[in-house]
Amino acid sequence: MRFLGISFIVIILLTSCTVASTKDFVVVENTVEKYKNPYFADSSKDYVYKANFEVYGRTFGGLLIIKKLATEHHRIVFATEFGSKMMDMELINDVFTINFIADDLNKKIVINTLKKDFKILLQEEIRFDKTYQNTEATIFQLVDNKRFNYYYVSKKNQQLVRILHASKSKEKIIFNFESKDGKMAENIIIDHKNIKLKIKLKRID
């Protein structure tokens, strides 16, 4: 009985929790059905970034190269500044194929973390479930297997400025974008909230 009581309290606590950053959201009516992530959407472009990883106090860098090969089909390569390939993978819809991975990176936790990040970063068409607003942005919510992806589109310039990946109660990953024209992200920061991992991407021409 006592256990049942505790369980109820836990359940109530859990369900009443919401992610802090969504508290000022106001539900609005869906005016469109889907949103298109504009970054990485042009197959004629090579998306090349200087990448910097901060992992548990250590940093390392390299080049991140992304190319759209077809709709919902991207090639992702991570190489050192010298050009040696460390990781080469492809994402087709939700399916990852690893073409090459250096032994040092070939660890389940690394692969799974990167898979999740790139899946969110590169998903082009978002058939969202709800639309919200706050003072700065229109936010599209996509329910993704007990997780939520919130796409923040700035009211000021209609640019995608953030993707928040969260559970019902916790922020998991925040993607922040800076763009000049709304089509090419100049700077991207992928900030993991549940592990000490921050990925900074700076576009190079």
Binding site: D46, I65, F82, G83, S84, F100, I204
Partner: protein, 281 residues
């Protein structure tokens, strides 16, 4: 003209071209394909550096093949293509004779022994088959005998790495870090290779099989990795040496996928004073 005649003609042409090209596509394996495919074009692409000889068949929608009609319509085009190729063959690679190799090695070693420092600008091109353009980065390389090397990338980002004993000293846009690579045999090997390839003194390395060739502009040495670990990352190093100065002008590192990194050196200056402080982070 029947199929056998065509086969014979192509064999003669191909064998003639073969005398100018080191890597050779087996002509007998090539010819029978014509019987099964409607060939609209045959291309011989002379990729001098990669030293490959590729023949591509472009299939037309018409699956039934008539060799004689192919001959009528395409023989003149084909001969023209061959002639063009032969015309450029003088620029293609030629295998070096044993005597040439021996002289070349001696000269490279003599130059390397006299070289105490090297300062050189470089352009690096990362080629990946799926990209629209190669990724170009540029910077300056400094070498001080016997084994200090610094690569400074200045465009399109600021990044430098110093190879020093068992350490990599990195300066990533102002952020400095040391990476200990003492336990990483692969990295050690790569470092040794870089040092040796800059100084041009890598002919005694038992870990590679070597091929020597030359074209109008350079001596070209292809190093094939024997080491299984290294082969996973880089299957082949191709070094171009200036024919007059016998110094390395280009390094190409080819991955198992055939994607490659090409480093082209320019404004090379030798034996200028480079202080040891330069190799501190």
């Amino acid at each position: 003209m029947n199929y056998l005649k065509l086969k014979h003609m192509l064999s003669v042409k191909i064998n003639f071209i073969n005398s100018n090209v080191r890597e050779f596509v087996d002509s007998s394996a090539l010819i029978p394909k014509i019987r099964d495919k409607s060939v609209s074009r045959i291309e011989f692409s002379d990729k001098t550096v990669l030293d490959t000889f590729s023949v591509s068949f472009h299939e037309t929608k018409n699956t039934r093949t008539d060799v004689s009609s192919f001959m009528k319509y395409h023989m003149s085009k084909l001969i023209l293509t061959f002639l063009l190729f032969i015309g450029t063959a003088s620029y293609a690679q030629k295998v070096m004779t044993a005597q040439e190799i021996s002289t070349f090695k001696q000269r490279v070693k003599a130059v390397a022994q006299k070289t105490k420092t090297i300062g050189s600008d470089f352009d690096q091109y990362k080629h990946m088959e799926f990209l629209s353009n190669d990724i170009k980065t540029s910077g300056k390389m400094l070498f001080k005998s016997p084994n200090l090397v610094k690569w400074s990338y200045t465009s399109p980002f600021q990044y430098s790495v110093i190879f020093k004993e068992d350490k990599l000293l990195i300066n990533d846009e102002g952020k400095k870090s040391d990476v200990n690579v003492g336990s990483n045999q692969l990295f050690k090997k790569l470092n040794q290779l870089i040092v040796k390839s800059i100084s041009g003194d890598m002919f005694d390395d038992a870990e590679f099989t070597m091929n020597f060739s030359k074209n109008a502009e350079a001596y070209i040495v292809t190093f094939n990795s024997k080491d299984e670990e290294l082969k996973k990352y880089i299957k082949q190093f191709v070094l171009h040496f200036d024919t007059q100065k016998h110094t390395v002008v280009e390094v190409r590192m080819i991955e198992p996928s055939d994607d490659y990194t090409q480093i082209v050196f320019k404004n090379r200056k030798e034996n200028q004073v480079i202080k040891d402080e330069v190799f501190r982070n």
